[in-house]
């Protein structure tokens, strides 16, 4: 099978948006779910969150950050190129219900997966307060889209180039400390370290907090167990039991440790790729 790329653009340096022709996936997709793709025969299967889907057009949009070999190679593809495999939707949809006020927090590339949730929570009747953050203004994605989908939007940057100077968690804390909002749920998606910090910051307030976990996956259907995470002392397979879990129960140290398992091999793959692609007879592009 092959899946055509309908649209491709670089949103900010090293972050790309790709819209893929996958009508059956679009029809079944819900906020919170992900897909797994493989670029070509030699490729690795990598999971990416569904950032948007359009049933009429039959398309699914993914947004990804260049991290290593596969995401870098994916970044070089262009409109009308094909992906060899594209399977989804995988994982449970986000548990979107009318709860009252919901705070959505997206850090860095984590804004991409938060973005369909803003729409879904709002459509379910919630008041949606979104907080998005990046290292600096130049790396911030989806600001306009998030503004349109939220009742209120806060921006934070590490260097203060836009919005609050500091972390997204500072704003979460401010909202929880204030008495204007009765927050029913907080959803935090971003790098594991950020989700761990957020879980710690929110813990004293006793507000339900959901995170979306990103362990290394292969099949995404529960058959390998490579994606196991520890939640409330129990082993769960993130691809089928999640990817969303209650933040207070998650063992983030284990998650981060397991994510680093193939660091050497990833380095080697990227080095080979860079070497090959700087040569004149590059086959990769």
């Amino acid at each position: 099978m092959s899946y055509k790329i309908l649209e491709k653009r670089e949103m900010v340096p090293n972050v790309h948006l790709i819209k893929v022709d996958a009508p059956d996936v679009a029809k079944a997709a819900r906020a919170g779910q992900f897909i797994i793709l493989r670029i070509d025969e030699e490729g690795e299967r990598i999971p990416l969150t569904i950032a948007d889907y359009d049933v009429e057009e039959g398309s699914v949009t993914i947004i990804f950050q260049e991290m290593g070999k596969t995401t870098k190679q994916l970044g070089t593809l262009s409109c009308s190129d094909d992906l060899q495999d594209f399977v989804g939707p995988l994982g449970h949809p986000a548990d979107v219900r009318n709860l009252g006020t919901v705070v959505l927090v997206g850090g860095g590339i984590g804004i991409a997966p938060i973005h369909p949730q803003a729409k879904a929570y709002r459509e379910a009747g919630n008041r949606v307060i979104s907080i998005i953050g990046a290292r600096n203004e130049g790396l911030l994605i989806l600001e306009d889209e998030m503004r349109a989908r939220s009742d209120e939007l806060y921006v934070a940057t590490d260097d203060g180039s836009k919005g609050h100077h500091g972390f997204v968690t500072d704003i979460v804390k401010e909202i929880l400390d204030g008495d204007e909002e009765e927050v029913a749920r907080i959803v935090v998606i971003g790098p594991p370290i950020m989700m761990r910090v957020a879980a710690g910051v929110i813990a004293p307030y006793d507000v339900e907090t959901i995170v979306s976990l990103n362990p290394i996956m292969i099949d995404g259907t529960g058959m390998c167990g490579g994606c196991r995470v520890s939640v409330g002392g129990k082993t769960k397979f993130a691809c089928v039991d999640g990817p969303e879990f209650n933040a207070k129960d998650v063992d983030f140290d284990l998650l981060m440790s397991r994510l680093s398992l193939y660091r050497d091999e990833e380095g080697q793959a990227l080095e080979n790729y860079n070497k090959c692609c700087s040569g004149s007879d590059c086959k990769c592009q």
């Binding site: 099978m1 996936v25 079944a28 690795e44 299967r45 989804g88 292969i218 058959m223 390998c224 167990g225």
Partner: protein
């Protein structure tokens, strides 16, 4: 049968058993007595006319021989390689009473390989019936159902969740035991019958069983038993602990043994411990050996006689230098630096009274704990049906073990929906999955013709 030298093969992924030459096949076939009441056939779950095909080999009618086999078995090149013949057909062979039984599996393999090499015509398909059938899962059970129903003219679509068809044959059983090119050719044969294979379709996610029921006239579920079991011991989430499914999927489906040419990595390990005694454990151990481990140890809680793997695989594993620590069971995985595996603590076992299955139950010997050095630990203690198919399958009856309940014709609690293979029996064999597929195909055909 000629094999690759153990010292050479334990560092490559090429096929171990090389197969008969024409001369060897004719010679072996010549020993067949062509019994009037062939006992061997009673042991074959798909009822191959064994003396029938062997008699054709005797007279060098190899095309006739394979045609005979393919009357009842769509995947002979695979069955010839992976069936436990020693427990099925060959054990019943009269010659076996006095000397060696006829090597039925090897002859079956020879016929299939000969056909592939010489490319004989495929047999014709019946007129289209206008009926549609969805098959969920492209393992041996699903492929058999698809072939049988396509042959009688039904329009069959297979939905497979992985990016390649074949089930365990593709992701589990390694290249050196079952070359993937062979599996692909057998699947080509099935697509040539007109079967549409849709990969990357996870039923329960992209579509539910209930939705398929509305779209198709009948359904077969052959989703296997792909959910890995872990032992529930301390340290099982450490870096370096793999389920056999993950280890084998990385190696076989994703070709991690060819990293970095292929992108998927694997931790090969220096000292690898595999727990389990079935084909899965043998395959994982032999893969680890080929990836370059210094020492690979199989830990199994019963004795040599009880090892459930095919005898040939156990022998091959021993020849290749795999260490067997029998009557031993892991109780804890020892943590090293940075959440990695440093070793496996095992306890010695002895065999007690027979349990419900008639096998003697292993009991731990108190105080016999000891440590085995290891950096990779692979869990191969079994699998159960993957529940993902059950999302949106209201009305489908399941047992307490998560397997699908079927009647004696292979029909589930939903009319027009059959099931078979590992998803019904729990982890079993290729040929039993195919046997269940044959039965289900007959049931579905009757159902379609009656409705």
């Amino acid at each position: 049968m000629p094999v690759q030298d153990p010292q050479e093969r334990n560092s490559n992924f090429n096929e171990v058993a090389l197969g008969y030459t024409e001369e060897q096949a004719v010679l072996e076939a010549g020993r067949c007595l062509e019994c009037k009441n062939p006992k061997c056939m009673e042991g074959c779950p798909v009822n191959i006319d064994i003396p029938g095909f062997i008699s054709k080999i005797k007279v060098r009618d190899f095309d006739g021989a394979i045609a005979k086999i393919k009357e009842t078995n769509a995947l002979p090149a695979i069955c010839g390689r992976v069936c436990p013949q020693e427990e099925q057909c060959e054990i019943l062979c009269i010659l076996g009473k006095k000397s060696e039984p006829i090597a039925i599996g090897r002859l079956e393999r020879f016929c299939a390989d000969h056909e592939r090499e010489t490319n004989v015509e495929k047999r014709p398909v019946a007129e289209p019936s206008g009926k549609t059938v969805a098959v969920v899962g492209a393992g041996p059970a699903g492929l058999t159902v698809a072939a049988d129903l396509a042959r009688v003219g039904h329009s069959v679509t297979i939905f497979e969740s992985l990016h390649e068809a074949g089930g365990v044959l593709i992701y589990g059983i390694p290249e050196f035991r079952l070359p993937k090119s062979i599996v692909k050719e057998e699947i080509d044969f099935i697509t040539k019958l007109g079967v549409d294979v849709k990969v990357n379709y996870v039923i329960g996610r992209i579509k539910t069983l209930n939705e398929l029921r509305d779209e198709f006239d009948a359904i077969f579920i052959g989703t296997g038993a792909g959910l890995p079991k872990f032992m529930g011991i301390e340290g099982e989430n450490l870096n370096g602990v793999y389920s056999a499914n993950e280890f084998l999927t990385r190696v076989n489906l994703m070709k991690a043994y060819r990293f970095p040419e292929y992108d998927t990595p694997i931790k090969p390990g220096k000292r690898v411990v595999v727990v389990g005694g079935g084909n899965v454990a043998m395959d994982a151990a032999r893969c680890a050996q080929r990836l370059g481990a210094d020492e690979v140890t199989i830990v199994y809680r019963r004795g040599d006689e009880e090892l459930p793997a095919r005898r040939e695989e156990i022998e091959h594993a021993k020849e290749e230098g795999i260490v067997f620590r029998l009557l031993n069971n892991p109780v804890r995985i020892v943590e090293g630096e940075n959440m990695t595996v440093a070793g496996v603590e095992c306890i010695k076992m002895e065999l007690g009274e027979p349990d419900g299955s008639g096998r003697r139950r292993p009991v731990p010997i108190e105080g016999s704990e000891h440590l085995i050095d290891a950096d990779i630990f692979i869990v191969a203690i079994g699998t159960s049906p993957n529940p993902i198919i059950f999302t949106g399958s209201e009305g489908l009856e399941r047992s307490e073990w998560g397997t699908i309940v079927v009647n004696e014709d292979g029909m589930t609690s939903i009319e027009g929906v059959c099931a078979g293979g590992d998803v019904v029996t729990g982890a079993a064999t290729v040929i039993s999955a195919m046997g269940a597929g044959k039965l289900a195909a007959e049931t579905i055909n009757t159902y379609l013709m009656d409705n």
